[in-house]
């Protein structure tokens, strides 16, 4: 066609940064114990922004005496107020917190992206809305526990010690605190040492909601603080989300005690694409499965299993799609992939990726500009991966996908289950009967069909095998915080 006008240079998206001004960070933070911020006795540490390495705030570390103070405060609050409140009153506090979370969602999203490195699009559209949704959901359960299927008058456990990871700092807090409080427990929560800031902002929200002192205590610190907390003798319940190694240590320490334990650990999920899958949407699901949150997702679809007859197409489409991913400033609204959370994590991702290459897998990344400062890793695909390769077996916890192929449904199931983990899996096919048949054979706690990494407060979440035990979310998530008949209460 003889149209004279030619399109000028490419469509360059101008920077669209979300303003930081909405976040009012203090230079330093204490521990949140008994409704107040107090100084800790441990060595204080700095929380940095992984995208710039800039220091955001100085944070106290809690030592064993601080942990003891926090647990005592939680015990006092449990005995004197929280367990005596009418359940509907507990619900009111949770609804109030949920509403404040929504009102302050922008502030929380910006702070989450600053402290964690995840893109603002995800913290704004996924993390924070889900945080509010979990609080709303469990607020509704507070006065309906008799109908949850755990007996006519289920009782809380007491004081819950909760230790959460850095990948979804505030969302993991919501998964832990909302059901615990709804069931009538009080909590001492330790956020990860690299991402404590939104938990501390949540502490301010508890103050704003007039939550009785001691019901929620937030103590910061590293592994030692976490160990002191879970080993404290006056803790009735331990909930941990994090690595399988630490989970194992906690299970050992809790063995032979009265403490009830739930663990949500690592994963190496298979995302299975059959030849009749809606390919374009499957490619989106693969991208969302492994590159969502830089792959810092315990249920990430890190092993792609593609039927051989469509492997070439899927690989081609996947690479084309990866070229459109935008890596960079987490606060830019157009960023798809943000920063790796810490130097330590970046080192592990690099190491395992190098091992993948040494073992003979083919490594590919799209061309992308990586910022000079901060911790970054480009989205990466490994093809020609064999099930024996370390990158097909070990959790990388980064934006690295291992692609394997299969020929028959049985082979797909066998390969998907051939892992010590069992947290999640995905199935892509247009055939409903196949979804049901395969899902029932997969040993994974969550099986997504024609979607991936979708979370909902009504749905239980948890693992098989080395991915842990116990369920969080939904009606099932309540049982972790209620005394069952076997507990003798």
């Amino acid at each position: 066609m003889s149209t004279s006008r030619k399109s000028p240079a490419v469509f360059d998206y101008a920077p669209a940064p979300e303003s930081r001004a909405i976040v009012d960070l203090r230079p330093s933070y204490g521990l949140f114990i008994d409704g107040e911020f107090v100084d800790g006795h441990g060595q204080s540490f700095k929380s940095i922004s992984p995208s710039t390495e800039e220091v955001l705030a100085e944070v106290c570390a809690a030592d064993a005496t601080d942990v003891d103070t926090a647990v005592k405060a939680a015990r006092r609050a449990y005995n004197r107020t929280w367990s005596r409140l009418p359940p509907a009153e507990r619900g009111k506090y949770l609804f109030r917190i949920a509403r404040i979370l929504q009102e302050r969602s922008r502030e929380l999203a910006v702070l989450e992206s600053l402290d964690n490195g995840k893109p603002i699009r995800e913290s704004r559209d996924v993390d924070i809305p889900l945080v509010a949704a979990y609080f709303f959901y469990y607020a509704g359960w507070a006065d309906k526990l008799a109908y949850a299927g755990y007996g006519p008058d289920p009782k809380p456990l007491g004081v819950a010690a909760q230790v959460i990871p850095w990948n979804f700092p505030l969302l993991m807090l919501a998964w832990k605190i909302a059901p615990a409080l709804a069931a009538g427990n009080t909590v001492v929560l330790k956020p990860a040492e690299t991402t404590p800031l939104t938990a501390l902002l949540f502490a301010e929200i508890c103050q704003q909601a007039d939550l009785p002192p001691g019901v929620v205590n937030i103590i910061t610190g590293a592994g030692d603080t976490g160990r002191a907390l879970v080993e404290h003798p006056d803790v009735d319940k331990i909930a941990f989300t994090g690595s399988t190694d630490v989970g194992r240590q906690i299970a050992v320490s809790a063995a032979g005690t009265r403490k009830k334990l739930t663990l949500e650990l690592g994963g190496k999920a298979a995302n299975i694409v059959f030849d009749d899958a809606p390919i374009d949407q499957a490619v989106e699901g693969i991208v969302n499965g492994i590159f969502f949150n830089q792959g810092h997702v315990c249920c990430a679809g890190s092993r792609l299993l593609v039927q051989e007859s469509v492997a070439e197409e899927v690989n081609f489409s996947l690479r084309r799609r990866l070229k459109t991913l935008r890596v960079g400033d987490p606060l830019d609204k157009n960023t798809d992939i943000g920063a790796i959370n810490s130097a330590e994590q970046l080192k592990r991702i690099r190491e395992l990726s190098d091992v993948g290459e040494q073992e003979g897998a083919v490594r590919w990344s799209p061309p992308c500009d990586i910022p000079d400062r901060g911790f970054w890793f480009p989205p990466t695909i490994f093809t020609e991966v064999s099930p024996a390769h370390r990158i097909a077996r070990e959790e990388i916890f980064g934006p690295v996908l291992s692609v394997l192929t299969f020929r028959t449904p049985d082979e797909a199931v066998a390969k998907a289950n051939n892992t010590p983990y069992g947290l999640s899996a995905g199935i892509w096919t247009d055939k409903g009967s196949r979804i049901l048949a395969i899902a029932s054979k997969l040993r994974a706690g969550v099986v997504w069909a024609n979607t991936f990494n979708r979370f909902d407060p009504t749905s239980p979440f948890g693992g098989y095998k080395e991915s842990g035990y116990g369920r969080e979310g939904g009606r099932h998530g309540l049982s972790a915080y209620l005394a069952s008949n076997e507990d003798g209460s």
Binding site: M1, T3, A16, P278, D280, A282, T324, N334, N450, T451
Partner: protein, 344 residues
């Protein structure tokens, strides 16, 4: 209807067993057929097998992708670029029973100079009118380089005999239209008579001569995304130069998910055949914000090569004024108002 024994080929991976060299005795003019697909378009059974062999579209997935793409934040310089680009991609349209030569003339004047106060404002790509009004558009647009599109083939329903449709096309082309917007026979498509639809597009394309053919799928009547993808391939295989969502007379008209499915078909067709087909969402696109979402979608689906009036158009009328208002805002720093842009 029984499918042929051989499984249908995946569209973007040419199966050598079905590739036939174009021959002179085929029913298709060589330049309109997609070489390599002659066997797939041989008869209704082959077409059906081919179209139903295309990968399915997952509704939830395609709508989720659109929702993510719609969060792209296009500001400052990017927005200014996008507004000028969008203006230059418009097929400025009037398709009303009450259209007159006078209305067409004023529409053409607006297409030439959308913003009389600012000569730097680009003109639109084309005007789009009913066939009988083409001569007035030709007169009003002479020397401007703006294309003249005419709707034809018993637009918008397409319910007329083949002879009437062809005559409609020939009439518009004779009058000077260099682009023809035809409608497909949705009744035939929905009842599985794919070959009838295909054959008709081929016939219309022949009647177009040198004029470019846009094939309107009327996606609002096809209802499912699977049907949209199949109709897109059908229209491209039959030789359409553009595929277009809607007549604007049926609701829903253009939507972002439908456009995404069609753009994916365009992208895959280009990958398979090397031929670049254009895309035209039409109807229901009224705001700058909407238009920018479409541009983002092209940029990240087919790639920026499609950001040219040769390969992308907006079928719209009201959209232009909103683009002009936003353009004023970027130039002057404040919003003007509806009285600062011309009514048509």
């Amino acid at each position: 209807m029984r499918a042929p024994p051989r499984p249908p080929p995946r569209p973007w991976r040419l199966d050598s067993s079905i590739v036939a060299a174009p021959t002179l005795d085929t029913a298709l003019p060589a330049e309109t057929a997609a070489p390599g697909y002659l066997d797939a378009t041989r008869d209704n059974a082959a077409l059906r097998a081919f179209l139903h062999g295309l990968p399915g579209v997952d509704q939830v997935g395609v709508e989720a992708r659109v929702a993510t793409l719609s969060t792209r934040s296009i500001k400052t310089t990017a927005k200014a670029w996008a507004i000028d680009m969008a203006i230059g991609l418009i097929d400025l349209t009037t398709l009303e029973g009450a259209d007159t030569p006078g209305r067409v003339a004023s529409l053409c004047a607006k297409a030439r100079r959308p913003d009389p106060s600012d000569p730097s404002c680009p003109s639109t790509a084309a005007v789009c009118v009913y066939g009988d009004l083409v001569p007035y558009a030709v007169e009003a647009l002479s020397g401007s380089g703006i294309h003249i599109a005419a709707v034809a083939t018993a637009f918008p329903s397409g319910r007329a005999s083949r002879e009437v449709k062809i005559a409609d096309v020939q009439d518009a082309v004779r009058a000077g239209a260099d682009e023809i917007d035809m409608v497909i026979d949705r009744g035939a498509f929905l009842s599985g008579r794919y070959y009838d639809v295909f054959d008709e597009i081929v016939a219309v394309k022949q009647a177009c001569g040198g004029a470019h053919l846009k094939v309107i799928l009327e996606t609002g009547e096809l209802a499912t995304y699977d049907n949209v993808r199949r109709a897109s391939w059908l229209a491209m295989l039959a030789g359409g130069d553009f595929i277009k969502t809607s007549t604007g007379k049926v609701s829903p008209a253009a939507t972002l998910p439908v456009t995404l499915v069609m753009l994916e078909a365009v992208r895959d067709f280009a990958e398979a055949t090397g031929r670049r087909i254009g895309m035209k969402p039409a109807g229901g696109i009224r705001t700058t914000k909407d238009a920018v979402k479409y541009l983002v979608m092209i940029n990240e689906t087919t790639g920026p090569d499609w950001l040219t009036p040769d390969l992308f158009r907006f079928g719209a009328s009201g959209l232009l004024n909103d683009l002009l208002l936003q353009r004023h805002k970027l130039t002057t720093g404040h919003y003007s108002g509806p009285d600062y842009v011309t009514v048509d």
